[in-house]
Amino acid sequence: MSDDDFRARARLWPKGNRFEDFGEGRVFDHHWGRTITAGDNAAFTTRTLSFCPLYFNEPYAQAQGHPRTVVNPLLVFNTVFGLTVEDLSEGGGPFLGVDKCHFLAPVYVGDTLTARSTVVSARESKGNAAMGIVAWHTQGFNQHGEQVIDYVRTNLVRKRRTAS
């Protein structure tokens, strides 16, 4: 029997990027995509007290000309944001803000969202030598390739640890 400790033999399978990875203009086509189910939409909407019947009453939505229940735009934002995290911000650093977020087309229950981001700017942080400040332009699309959301996000992003 081997006494090999699996922990000693393991190497970390790392995730995420660091400040140095965000050259201006670099494009990320993000992983996975996400089909928004009726359950997703109803749970998110009610849990956030987002009380507009477009997001939880299908005949009401249809009476306003929609084919199905409308997906809460804050869920569209959160889902597209979530799809971007491994590439953009899982490496660590707080989320500072979002600007110019436009909801370009309604999303319906059953639609599938995908995301793409472009590095807008990457600069040093004056107050924190271990971090930089990165801004990305993120676009979200439905399964027909129509863009449904557009925004700019800014984060503090950790730099690589240098050997010392």
């Binding site: 749970a43 009476a63 934002f77 803000g97 503090l156």
Partner: protein, 161 residues
């Protein structure tokens, strides 16, 4: 079903006057289910929102946080959600958000409240049954610290004839 009977009568486009500031009824205590549930529902892979052990050991970001921090997208959704019955129940569409800033971290057990100011109103250019209202929202916690601020444009129905 008469659809206009399903929503309030005091939150049509005509009800919003520039300079009005509202304190919205109801607060929401942010639970572990809210944060971890929504974070993972939307495939947000950042561990700081769902790995308590990491946060206790790391003091993440030199900020000394010793617990999971609530995903900012959840804070944004809850603060705007707390305002939604008043500022979006009769919405036709959410148009945009801008100047969204997360001013302080939110942790499990914090309670959020929402405030709104009407910054502007304008006619819709392509329809006469609705107008656009420009809001500024704030979210505060139980200590009255501002945790969120941001602006929002909503297309809201005019009062039915």
């Amino acid at each position: 079903m008469t659809y206009t009977a399903l929503t309030g009568s005091d939150n049509y486009f005509e009800n919003f006057r520039v300079g009005d500031v509202y304190r919205h009824a109801r607060g929401k205590t942010v639970t572990e289910q809210d944060n971890v549930g929504i974070t993972l529902q939307v495939l947000n892979t950042a561990e700081g929102h769902f790995n308590e052990d990491l946060m206790q050991k790391a003091g993440v970001g030199g900020r000394g946080w010793q617990e999971r921090v609530v995903f900012g997208g959840v804070t944004i959704a809850i603060v705007i959600g707390l305002s939604m019955q008043d500022t979006g129940e009769n919405a036709i569409a959410e148009l945009s958000l801008d100047g969204i800033r997360l001013k302080s971290p939110v942790f499990h057990g914090d309670t959020l409240y929402a405030y709104t100011e009407v910054l502007g109103t304008e006619a819709a250019t392509d329809r006469d049954d609705a107008g656009i209202v420009h809001f500024r929202h704030w979210g505060v916690n139980q200590r009255d610290d501002v945790v969120f601020e941001g602006e929002r444009h909503v297309l809201i129905r005019r009062r039915p004839a």
